[in-house]
Symmetry: C2
């Protein structure tokens, strides 16, 4: 499995993904699940993925290829598409196509599947974030629900429900997604380090911060320990 | 859905269940999911249930009937069974029978199903807690994993993973299950108030505390607010 989360806030966007993939518990590997499509200052698109690796890798490869083609058009390239809505449509159509093709090869009752979060902004446009379903349809993050999750989303949802609002600062947003991930890592073996985190500042149209957090990362461990301590202290002080 | 949790600790056992049942989002009702079978001082058995109401109600009714029959035997009555292991076997066999019968009536691909936690002690015996699967097989809580959950268990797992140990006091244990439930209630609509909680003291062989917590319960709301505050304060103090 996987856990990825994206926050759409007034100041910008924060995305976080883990890197664990597994085909059975005895076949665990590390794969990047966060992908950047960027023309700095003009356009930035971040995609995080969950689901069958054969589906997500092929989808990302096709999106990259379509954007790199010399005869790329606004209909086919997410780096030329006129709006983020069109970007979501291209990603959705590509994902659905790949999934259908792989499903035919597998001829299983329940075939390969994947979901993605697509976040981005083009110069002069609005910052937007979409969750793309395996069938290619999608939903969008809004003021009311300023975050999207894919994969093992339940363990890390309570902290987001409590602290994330559209006016949350980007510093707090990074803390929130890391603590949300921390809860997931503790409770579910199929989600694992290292982590990839990125921050996109509003109207900046480039990847502002891109950070890989390795298993031994000291600041992450300190944060995780401090959070454990805060929870235990809070727990101790509460009376029923 | 449902959320039920049971803790097996050195000092005793704590069980908590919600009461929401739904057949579709537009058909929500309140049903007790916690059932006591008790001969105070001699034997106590608490069962909490998750899953299809037709399965759980029929299973509990049959267990009750089998225990009340004048010719009840240690093979059929959970109030006469010589060990808690035998109790788990009777509950498992009854659950599997009921499920099979209802499945035949439904003739659906995915039929009705249910899981249960059975906890108890008989005089002179050991305090034990089992999770019964729909097929009638079961697992048991141990020192290493002193809690069992059924239903919507993921939201409320991180807090249990952090604070529950076999030597946790029963006061802390009640806090822990209530906070675990609080996280679940906030993040999942299919779990709802009121709640049923019970405490069984070791070697007491009776229900020590039985408490229904209604939607407006002041102490639960205070605890929930205090926990929210503790989480927010902890969150604020952490630096990344």
């Amino acid at each position: 499995m996987t856990y990825c989360v994206g926050l759409l806030l007034n100041e910008g966007m924060v995305m976080l993904s883990d890197t664990r993939t597994n085909a059975g518990l005895d076949n665990i590997a590390t794969y990047r699940k966060m992908f950047q499509f960027e023309e700095p200052g003009e356009r930035v698109i971040t995609i995080v993925t969950a689901g069958s690796l054969s589906v997500t890798q092929t989808t990302i490869a096709r999106l990259r290829e379509a954007a790199d083609l010399p005869d790329a058009t606004p209909e086919t390239s997410i780096l030329l598409a006129p709006t983020m809505l069109k970007v979501a449509e291209i990603v959705g159509a590509t994902l659905a196509d790949v999934r259908r093709e792989i499903d035919q090869k597998l001829s299983m009752a329940q075939g390969a599947s994947a979901t993605m979060i697509v976040a981005g902004q083009r110069k002069g446009g609005t910052m937007r974030m979409f969750l793309i379903y395996p069938e290619g349809n999608f939903i969008e993050a809004t003021e009311d629900t300023p975050y999207l999750q894919i994969g093992e989303h339940k363990y890390g949802k309570p902290i987001l429900d409590r602290v994330v609002k559209p006016n949350t600062t980007l510093a707090d947003a990074q803390k929130a997604v890391l603590l949300s991930m921390d809860s997931t890592l503790r409770s579910n073996l199929s989600v694992g380090m290292p982590l990839d985190m990125c921050v996109i500042y509003r109207d900046d149209c480039r990847v502002g911060i891109q950070r890989r957090i390795e298993a031994g990362d000291e600041s992450f461990r300190n944060m995780s320990d401090a959070w454990s301590k805060a929870l235990r202290d809070g727990f101790t002080q509460i009376t029923i």
